[in-house]
């Protein structure tokens, strides 16, 4: 089994796993209880908060834990229902947990503008500036894209937002552990995270909300997370997120070089065998280890089935709950034709992948291409 879909999710880190098992077994108190076992649980959450805060250079008080990255994004956008200035600016390559939420919020009177991207998936900050109106209350732009890895100029966009007294949110779900994140330097107001993208558990996420920025809660019914997210905390999950964030940030430089090395090696090998392959997005200015490629005349669904039958996991398009694939809206926004779109796949390496695995991946892609060409 070869796993090359680390942008979808990552295998859990062994240390994180051990910590969580231990907590699940031994820490059962409700963090809201005042007696010892409750206090212990509460303490574990606060340790995790400090670890994530350290990883992104925020204060612990600026972190709230959520039930995942999509929930984090939802909290930020649903807040607009309460705001007077409720126009939102976002981009055409955001995650569905931004774009579909905005579509839903339109019914409740929250308006939005979607700015385009260029052929590399890059947003022009000027486009954002041009679309700011007196009602604009929020700009939400991802730090790096999940399908092609493009790194967006969020520092510049944050500056523009603040010039116009507009809140700036960035979805950084793909980034932690691959690039440095310093919320103070980036001048961010709000940022979303998801533990399972950096070798932590699924179903836990976090929001950085700068001191002084006021957001309304979406889930109500308890005073947890300073009233920002009701519900008894997922203690072991939060602890897992905290430790995973610490590890990711401590090894960020090593991880970056490792992923870049795998990426370059992969590109070299595959181009050597199939020089008609094209890569979507930037060569640099992107997340390391993430390659989106188009293989002419090889439908990506057939390639994926062949690779899956070889025990190799990569991905394409946007998967739906009945398992079928639609053309990727991100590649579409970058101007790819529908044909090329459906011939594109994403390979995303992770910290556990090796050069030898890249060899096997390339061999399997090569033999699948040969098989598909033979049968069609």
């Amino acid at each position: 089994m070869l796993y090359f879909d680390n942008s979808a999710t990552t295998p859990i880190d062994q240390d994180v796993q051990s910590l969580m098992s231990d907590l699940n077994q031994n820490i059962y108190g409700n963090p809201s209880s005042i007696y010892a076992s409750g206090r212990n649980a509460k303490n574990i959450i606060e340790i995790a908060r400090r670890k994530l805060a350290n990883a992104i250079n925020s204060k612990p008080s600026e972190i709230i834990f959520t039930g995942g990255g999509s929930e984090a994004n939802n909290i930020v956008l649903w807040d607009m229902v309460h705001k007077k200035r409720n126009h939102v600016i976002t981009s055409s390559i955001e995650h569905p947990a931004i774009l579909l939420v905005l579509r839903e919020l339109e019914k409740l009177g929250v308006k939005h503008t979607i700015v385009p991207v260029d052929k590399n998936g890059l947003i022009d900050p000027d486009d954002i500036k041009k679309n700011i109106i007196s009602d604009t209350g929020l700009i939400s732009i991802m730090m790096a894209n999940n399908e092609v890895g493009t790194i967006e100029p969020i520092q510049e966009i944050a500056r523009i937002a603040h010039e116009h007294d507009v809140l700036f949110h960035s979805d950084a779900i793909q980034v932690l552990g691959k690039l440095p994140i310093d919320v103070k330097k980036l001048q961010l107001d709000i940022m979303s995270f998801s533990a399972h993208k950096f070798y932590g558990p699924k179903g836990v996420g976090a929001l950085y909300i700068k001191d002084g920025v006021s957001i309304n809660p979406m889930i109500i019914g308890g005073s947890q997370e300073k009233n920002m997210r009701a519900g008894t905390e997922n203690v072991s999950g939060i602890a897992g997120l905290g430790l995973a964030a610490e590890i990711a940030s401590n090894f960020e430089k090593e991880n970056f070089s490792h992923l870049l090395e795998l990426e370059n090696y992969f590109k070299e090998l595959i181009i050597d065998k199939h020089n008609d392959i094209t890569f979507n997005g930037f060569d640099n200015n992107k997340l390391p280890g993430l390659v989106n490629l188009t293989i002419p005349n090889i439908p990506s669904d057939l390639l994926l089935i062949n690779l899956d039958n070889d025990g190799i996991s990569i991905s394409n398009g946007s998967a739906c709950s009945s398992g079928t694939i639609s053309p990727s809206p991100v590649l579409k926004a970058m101007g790819l034709s529908d044909k090329s779109n459906l011939e594109s796949v994403r390979i995303s390496a992770g910290k556990y992948n090796t050069m030898d695995e890249v060899n096997k991946l390339v061999d399997s892609i090569h033999s699948s291409i040969v098989t598909i060409r033979k049968n069609t």
Partner: protein
């Protein structure tokens, strides 16, 4: 020997057991879930529940499963025809076309691309090769026999297909599924249009075809009610006409006899025995024969004009342009234009065609 086979799996009990039986027979089974319909809102995933059932079945059986989306092919090749027939006041059978265009064409081709030489489905029918002709036979379970829906297949798809349930009764199939612990063992049979799913048919059709209400007229030319659009009615239909009492001396139920598309009138009559509901002769067009054997000009056969109908003895006389005149020994009830008539000789399904209104 290439023992690879691709099984079309729907999340129902029949295809689950088809996959199970082939795996037991030593085939290298790969399951494909077909998604052929997308609701207008492209972002919403339809058929997610069926896929999740299929996934659980494959997990228990230890078989790989993948999905494929043929909704464009379904729309172009099946649904547009379905709509145009309805618009013309006819009663089409989309499942017949779906088999020819999707399951035994698009899906078959897809399986070939995956390097398989055969596909299998959970249909209740049999395939036999006699004298190098592939013949389609009724399934053993006479109550479930699905050969009616498969009459448009020809030699090539039949030569590449397997129906593992052909020799089983539905009860056996459920029993096998239960024994294997499959979650689909007690799943209710679907009754909706293939792939579109079970919907309120009137509401569904309304979305695609504008309704044009008009009068309901009795065969003796009296106005007896109003209809909500001719496309919602089928010849022989009894329910949902909304004709109250007081239009005649008796309380016999009303039936749809005819749809006058030009005048937008629905013609009805009273009593199931009313002769206007019966035909002893019909015209059949778009004839298709399953084998390459040239049929006799005139032959005594049996026919079904709807799924699960008992075989009706008839004489089929070929006329030009893939058409025939079919005379029934006993007049048949409610032959609706656009419906498929399927011919049988004992157990063998020979082919069929489309019913046209008979004009003397």
């Amino acid at each position: 020997m290439n023992k690879k086979i691709v099984v079309g799996i729907s999340g129902g009990v029949d295809s689950s057991v088809a996959a199970l039986l082939l795996a037991e027979q030593g085939y290298d089974v790969e399951c494909i879930f077909m998604k052929n319909w997308e609701d207008e809102d492209g972002e919403v995933c339809t058929s997610a529940d069926d896929y999740s059932d299929a996934l659980q079945v494959c997990n228990i059986l230890g078989l790989p499963i993948h999905s494929v989306n043929f909704s464009k092919e379904y729309w172009d090749k099946v649904f547009t025809y379905f709509l145009s027939e309805y618009k013309a006041g006819r009663t089409p059978n989309p499942d017949v076309l779906c088999n020819r265009e999707i399951k035994f064409k698009a899906f078959l081709e897809y399986a070939m691309k995956l390097g398989s030489k055969h596909i299998a489905t959970g249909h209740y029918a049999k395939i036999e090769c006699i004298n190098s002709q592939y013949r389609l036979l009724k399934g053993k379970d006479k109550n479930k026999d699905q050969s009616y829906f498969l009459y448009l297949l020809s030699q090539e798809p039949l030569s590449k297909s397997k129906f593992p349930l052909g020799d089983l009764e539905k009860e056996d199939v459920r029993h096998i599924a239960k024994k294997a612990g499959l979650p689909t063992a007690n799943k209710k049979d679907s009754t909706g249009i293939c792939f579109v799913g079970e919907k309120n048919f009137k509401q569904f059709l309304e979305k695609y075809l504008p309704a044009n209400p008009g009068e309901i007229i009795s065969t003796d030319e009296r106005k007896v009610g109003t209809h909500s659009g001719l496309m919602y009615y089928t010849i022989g239909q009894r329910k949902g006409l909304g004709i109250g009492g007081g239009y005649s001396d008796n309380n016999d139920p009303w039936y749809v006899v005819e749809k006058d598309m030009k005048k937008n009138k629905l013609i009805v009559c009273q009593g199931k025995d009313n002769p206007s509901l019966y035909s002893s002769k019909i015209i059949v067009t778009q004839l298709h024969w399953i084998t390459n054997i040239i049929p006799n000009e005139k032959q005594e056969l049996a026919a079904k004009i709807r799924y699960r109908q008992k075989d009706q003895a008839c004489t089929v006389e070929l006329i030009k342009n893939k058409s025939a005149i079919v005379s029934f020994n006993k007049p048949i009830f409610a032959a609706a234009a656009g419906q498929s008539i399927v011919f049988y000789k004992n157990e063998e399904c020979l082919g069929g065609g489309i019913i046209e209104p008979y004009v003397n």
